[in-house]
Point group: C2
Chain length 565, copies 2
């Protein structure tokens, strides 16, 4: 058969191999060449933290098909008919000649190849804080197999006594868990005031509390000023406020930047986010060149703005679209991102999709939010706590975003909300959703549906809710609302905020109204363990003439601040 | 305060208490009376199988709030301001007088109460097969706390040697697991040709295989003809084909029927399904009477037809709508059901939402289906198998239904598909869905998205797929397609169908085309372990001139029939 066309793919991690494989499935006879700088192909880089942490021992599992075959050049040639060249760095794209120039990093040979269509999947590069000492031995990122090997070795050797993780994002948190070993003192340093900035502060703080409960030191609002060392070896880090932390290992996870040098040098348009500009076909400003993966910017499906979304799942989906369109012409469409993400942090899971409350506001939405706490399963099935924050557009009720954290089944919650956003659903649509229910899988009224109920009540002004953060702010500002804890005496004896509250169990409230403030205008904030009894207490008070009754959403379960007990 | 109105609720299981509680939250001053025939209130009846099976020991957990308070009349009075009367059977609804007449089953006293609005939540009654011997001791259903207590006692006593479960639906399967103890011989008898009729045959057969692998006898296509006994005690069952099974215990789970006697006797309209007719406000043919829960019929949101949907989650949601509307006038809307359901069967989970392929056809859709098998997580995270069947409308691509079974995370899959159906999404919408991904939670390309990819390929005629059932049918009819197993030799040595297939690993296929049928018109069916290699093999063959190449969807993982090894 004659070769119909030649497609060249630059990059062999996620988007590149997927684009090449999809292109092959669209045309068996085209020539497909994949050029990869690293010695490995198709690395499951999202799995690095679990390899480092010892969840599994065979590093080849990160490089293998489900059937256990390592995805090396031989595999690509035989199974996919793809000419995959490893340790091959593309140095130059010559668009006028439709040619790429490359170096073989092993042999030092150079070469060039012409393309009919080119796919750029050059991924991202870890950001390094611009501080002195970054070349000391003992500093690493977790971006490559090499990094993963280095950290796994450190993990197994067991000689590290103190380690610092610079950056409290997804990778920082996953690394934190991977390195949390007997006898190691771990500190996470985050420049911003909170961990996991895809969450709003109140949810992120719950995750931080959990991380701290696992023995990890967490320092927020403080960046790194310098790495300190002796004889070229790391001995510690100095923070911007002057604090010095001694450590033998520092893992830098302050974010990644699209790797666009090749594209920029070739004159391809780079967006304001720093990613390669692509249209919905994943086509760049050069019609013969597509791009996919961490190196591109995407449309945010809610705001319509260009954003970076360096997620492994999207890289695969984008690669698939780029591969099909490069081979067959523009047919497939990639609609963009809603920034769905999830991560495991010790026994907690934290996830989000769509906009956080703060990002919704920044993007001009009249956002309303509500917090809900409940178990994921009935008590008799040993349900575990979920704390969610739902964000909606106040006037239309459109669901803008959801966050969820806790030891419970966050996975289902975020997957559901992601689908709700993709379907442009409103709060009203979620209120009576028919979701799969059986006691091993959800509450009779699923946590997400209950969250929608709260939001609906809040939108209708039946529920006058305050988040725990709102309540804390009031108290910190010297306000003195009447705080009503509507739980039982036994619960109060076990756990309580200790911020001047009065206990009146809901079951006794109707008989003890005389103990409530005489001044019917006084602000009353009712709460319970998770929320329902606080809400019902507020309704009882309103019906009895109190005019300014609010409910602390999520109750004690969502209170992220220190408690009396 | 003056009492504004009196709401009476008949039924105290799920829909009734929820309606009463919601009504109370809508008006603190109305009088709300709940009349319950059983001695218990708010029983978590979906939890019975787990109590019977010993997942927990305290039966009060089935009757308690999340805070551990038993929902008895005292609780309802104090915490909810609801006058809940147990052991109180309503005998008559007098619509002209707007009055209900009741008996106290303990004291024998009768009474009556007038209502402004009435909510009927009388639930369902277990069907009993109309065969002799149904009153023998040792026969039970699993519909009440009394049944649960009886079965738990049998479970704990450990004296049962042989038990028969009549009915292979959700309750039958859950009971099966609850009773599967050391030393007990369990048989499930189902009149229809398959278990779990909300699934299509091919998926249900996978679940059946799993049940059989757990040591349970499964008899399908055979109903019960008689219960046999001696001295009033069950000794066995006789089936319609004459088979006799000895047993000391029989659990009847052949379905439930709406309990509409009271409503029917009061002249309220009953639908053709046998459930009480309600509109979207849960209002019956009498504007002063609402109904909710298992006793009503609902609109199916895809077909528009009236159906029964006796699920605990919907009962709660319907109750909430009925309670609000009864109290405040018709404001809230219940949009209907899509028949989402899920159940745990030993180490398998089976779930479905929307229409099965057969129900889609019965409802006049030009349905197309595809089967996908894959793990739920990457291999290095010890992913577990999922086998899904997706059903779509051929011309529009609208998602009509999805089924999923396996040891993997079926819960997330069905929840996602339910949301997709609620959002009226098409296959194209799912193909690039931005779902939460991290290795502990999904594959990089989520199983559901991959299923949508297959469906898209099938709709575009790129994938010419056959289900394993289609392939088996061909073989059973004496057809002789060329069967190509595209896996590796080691996999073939471990597992294979043994139906005359030839092994040509995908990686060797391009070099071994000479071994394929000379006749380019001959039907070839390619497959692998789960599907991708089979698909890629088919594309290689088509590109090399074979004209009639198909792929067996889901591969060996979805093959529900006996294998050579």
């Amino acid at each position: 058969m004659d070769i119909t066309k030649r497609i060249i793919v630059i990059g062999g991690s996620a988007a590149g191999p997927k684009a090449a494989a999809k292109a092959r499935r669209c045309d068996e006879h085209a020539e497909i060449v994949l050029l990869q700088k690293s010695p490995e192909l198709s690395m499951a880089s999202c799995g690095y933290p679990y390899y480092v942490g010892g969840d599994f021992d065979d590093r080849n599992m990160l490089l293998s098909t489900p059937a256990g075959v390592v995805r090396d050049p031989q595999f690509y040639l035989n199974a996919k008919g793809i000419d995959a060249r490893i340790s091959t760095e593309v140095t130059h794209i010559d668009r006028s000649e439709k040619r790429v120039v490359f170096n073989n990093l092993m042999s030092g040979d150079t070469g060039s190849l012409n393309y009919d269509k080119l796919i750029i999947a050059t991924g991202s590069l870890p950001k390094m804080p611009p501080v002195p000492g970054a070349n000391l031995k003992g500093i690493t990122t977790l971006q490559s197999m090499h990094d993963a090997d280095f950290l796994r070795e450190a993990h197994d050797a067991g000689k590290i006594r103190k380690a610092v993780i610079i950056g409290g994002g997804l990778i920082g948190m996953e690394t934190c868990e991977a390195l949390q070993l007997e006898g190691i003192e771990l500190t996470v340093v985050e420049m911003l005031p909170q961990l996991l900035t895809f969450l709003d502060f109140d949810i992120a703080k719950l995750v931080e509390n959990h991380v701290v409960s696992k023995g990890v030191n967490v320092i927020t609002g403080n960046g790194i000023a310098a790495f300190m060392g002796r004889d070229g070896v790391l001995t510690g880090v100095r923070l911007q406020d002057g604090t010095e932390l001694s450590c033998e290992l520092a893992v830098v996870a302050v974010g990644i930047a699209p790797n666009v040098t090749l594209a920029r040098n070739a004159g391809i348009s780079i967006g304001t986010t720093g990613g390669i500009e692509v249209d919905q076909h994943m086509q760049t400003s050069d019609p013969d060149i597509y791009a996919a993966g961490d190196c591109v910017e995407l449309v945010h499906r809610i705001t319509g703005k260009k954003v970076l979304a360096p997620y492994g799942d999207l890289a695969n989906l984008e690669g698939r679209v780029a591969g099909e369109n490069a081979m067959l012409g523009n047919r497939a469409i990639f609609p963009g991102t809603i920034h769905s993400g999830i991560c495991k942090v010790f026994d907690y899971i934290a996830g989000a999709t769509g906009l956080s409350e703060s990002s919704a506001r920044e993007n001009g939405f009249d956002a309303i939010s509500v917090i809900n706490a409940s178990p994921d399963l009935p008590g008799y099935m040993k349900g575990k706590l979920l704390v969610s924050k739902l964000v909606a557009d106040r006037s239309t009720g459109r669901i803008l975003g959801a966050q969820c954290a806790g030891p419970g089944n966050v996975n289902r919650q975020i997957a559901q909300w992601a689908m709700a956003i993709i379907g442009n659903l409103t709060v009203d649509d979620m209120v009576n959703a028919d979701l799969p229910y059986a006691p091993p899988f959800s509450l009779a009224i699923d946590h997400g549906i209950a969250t929608a109920h709260l939001m609906q009540n809040k939108l209708m002004r039946r529920l006058k809710g305050l988040s725990p953060a709102n309540v804390k702010q009031k108290l910190d500002h010297g306000e003195t609302p009447f705080l009503l804890d509507a739980r039982g005496q036994d619960e109060f004896n076990r756990t309580r905020l200790g911020v001047g509250e009065m206990l009146v169990p809901l079951g006794a409230l109707r008989k003890r109204l005389g103990e409530l403030p005489e001044n019917k205008e006084r602000e009353i904030i009712a709460y319970c363990q998770i929320g329902l009894r606080g809400y019902e207490a507020a309704l009882v008070l309103e019906a009895n003439g109190w005019k300014n009754v609010k409910v602390m959403e999520g109750g004690i379960a969502a209170w992220p601040y220190p408690r009396e007990k």
